[in-house]
Amino acid sequence: MLAAVVIRLVRRKPLGAFGALVFVVFLACGIFAGALAPHGMNEINPLYRMKPPSLTFPLGTDNLGRDMLSRILYGARLSVIIGFCAAGLATALSVVLGLTTGYLGGRFDLVMQRFVDAWMTFPDLVILIAVVSVVGPGMLQLIVTLGLLYGIAGSRIIRGAVVAVREDLYVHAAQSLGARTFRILWLHILPNVLPPIIVLFTTRVGIVILAEAGLSFLGLGVPPPAPTWGGMLAGSGRAYMYQGPWLALAPGLCLTIVVYAINMFGDALRDVLDPRMRGAG
């Protein structure tokens, strides 16, 4: 089935396929950063500070003499970790909430919806600012916060999909056969709402990466010396943008390209998977 989706994607949505390719490269860089990076993540060497791109330092060095290429690669790893973990947590939370409220309905659904309503009243950034100020800066705190934040908001989408599916014939059949709720959810509902879940996950990765960048600008992101792309762009990228434009160009371009690719990929995926789900021609 996976092969069929991939083939359809490449044939009908070339741009989306390109996005997927970039996404995979990004993932690979992230996982194998340790092997790929020519220098360390935080190798400070004041003698080599602010060197423009050259053969020894393909992307130049920053204000503390650290190799930008290595920092970018390790930054990819951080972005992969933060992006995937937070998006994963968010999606898992959305699925659990969406499945239970969508399927069970009734008073439970009503109460949860009011809670989600209240939660969605507050803007993302505002909650992030408040929470990160409370728990302090750090990668784990950031992942948990972003995960919770987007998880609750995304539950609406999953719930919508579940509601559409729960009246289907095979679900009624399973219910009349006396199958337990959990079994129904796991075996019947979940597989049929998989497409929106996949799409949700991919788009969340992009959103999380951008959110971390925004927080870095406000001083609330993962603190240095962690080489997150957002942190590099917002920090030394902006401070030294006159003396060393490469300090900002590298992380900026990476951020833009990866988020762009993820979005195109997610779009294409949705286009490819959705009609199939609806059963329309």
């Binding site: 009908r12 741009l15 009011r114 309503d117 209240a118 969605m120 009243t121 507050f122 803007p123 993302d124 950034l125 505002v126 600012i129 408040a130 100020s133 409370v134 302090g136 992009g206 951008l210 960048a213 925004g214 600008f217 406000l218 957002g230 762009l233 917002a234 990228g237 902006r238 943008m241 900002a248 900026g252 951020l255 833009t256 390209i257 988020v259 762009y260 979005n263 195109m264 779009d267 329309a280």
Partner: protein, 318 residues
């Protein structure tokens, strides 16, 4: 219809106070108290000062008492005083809210002005080069971190042409042109990144609607493209789009912090950022309360607008 509105408005109140209680308590549990911050400003502080300051700020009472006092004040429109500036929170909010609101409305207008035409165009020219280009541009605007775009727009024109946006704030009714000269640039940046999501949804919904039977009937009747698209398709496609606008409301009202910081717009976002950093509890609680109220009101308006757009939806007294 009226009964529905009244019921919805009444339902707001318990939700708001429930939310405010949570914010009230959580904010005070934050490590790093405002007393420490204040005492740190002065060189010669001793233990006596701490107790004295707490009493002066009303922070020595138990939390429940503080909350009750705050609620009592809120009913009278008095949200307390800022712990730092000692100005009434209500006054601060009233000053900042119109600014944020203006920025939000401008950004939304720009977002719609960009998204709707592109969305419609993309839908009617699906999978053509034009579709790809316009969609790509829209997503590109979304992918570039807003603070970076803002910095570029602020710095480079000033270096090349000696131009920068207006940075001194003046109220809209006092000098509308100068005010817009300040707001327009951040509004454009906000709006274009917002347009990406809206455009995508417009395109999707238009695509779906265009496949419907009643559209096919319209084609068969021999109608030209424009009335089909605008009169029949657009109206129905707009419903989820309006929902999306409702969902974006929180973002516009409170999430423009980054633009506010770069373009020196004195809005609610910066107020909150500063207040959280300084642990200014009354201001934080006040901002959350007002934000919540605004968003809920926007959602109500969105729900009501369904009535005008979709004749199938009409609100009956139950």
């Amino acid at each position: 219809m009226q009964i529905y509105i009244v019921r919805r408005l009444l339902a707001l109140i318990p939700t708001l106070f429930f939310a405010s209680l949570i914010v009230f308590v959580t904010v005070r549990l934050i490590p790093g108290s405002v007393i420490d911050l204040m005492l740190s400003q002065n060189d010669i502080a001793v233990g006596k000062d701490r107790a004295q300051l707490e009493a002066a700020l009303g922070l020595d009472r138990p939390m429940l008492v503080q909350y009750v006092r705050w609620v009592g004040g809120a009913f009278r429109g008095d949200l307390g005083r800022s712990l730092w500036h000692n100005t009434p929170v209500t006054a601060q909010l009233l000053e900042r809210l119109p600014v944020t609101f203006e920025l939000g409305v401008l950004a939304l207008a720009i977002a719609l002005a960009v998204a709707l035409p592109i969305g419609m165009y993309s839908a009617t020219r699906q999978d053509t080069a034009g579709d790809y280009v316009t969609r790509s541009f829209s997503i590109l605007m979304l992918a570039i971190p807003s603070f970076w775009l803002g910095t570029l727009v602020m710095v480079f024109p000033s270096m090349w042409w000696g131009w920068s946006p207006e940075l001194k704030y003046v109220a809209l009714r006092q000098a509308p042109l100068r005010n817009l000269a300040q707001m327009i640039v951040p509004a454009i940046i906000l709006g274009t990144s917002l347009s990406a999501v809206t455009m995508r949804l417009t395109r999707t919904m238009m695509l779906e609607v265009l496949r419907q039977d009643y559209i096919r009937t319209a084609w068969a009747k021999g109608l030209s493209e424009r009335p089909v698209v605008t009169r029949h398709a657009l109206r129905n496609a707009l419903i989820p789009v309006i929902t999306l606008i409702g969902l974006q409301a929180p973002l516009l009202i409170g999430g423009a912090v980054i633009m506010e910081q770069i373009f020196v717009v004195p809005g609610m976002g910066l107020l909150l950022l500063e207040a959280v950093g300084q642990r200014d509890y009354p201001v934080i609680t006040g901002v959350f309360l007002v934000l919540g109220m605004c968003v809920m009101l926007v959602n109500l308006l969105v729900d009501l607008s369904y009535g005008t757009l979709d004749p199938r939806v009409r609100y009956q007294p139950s």
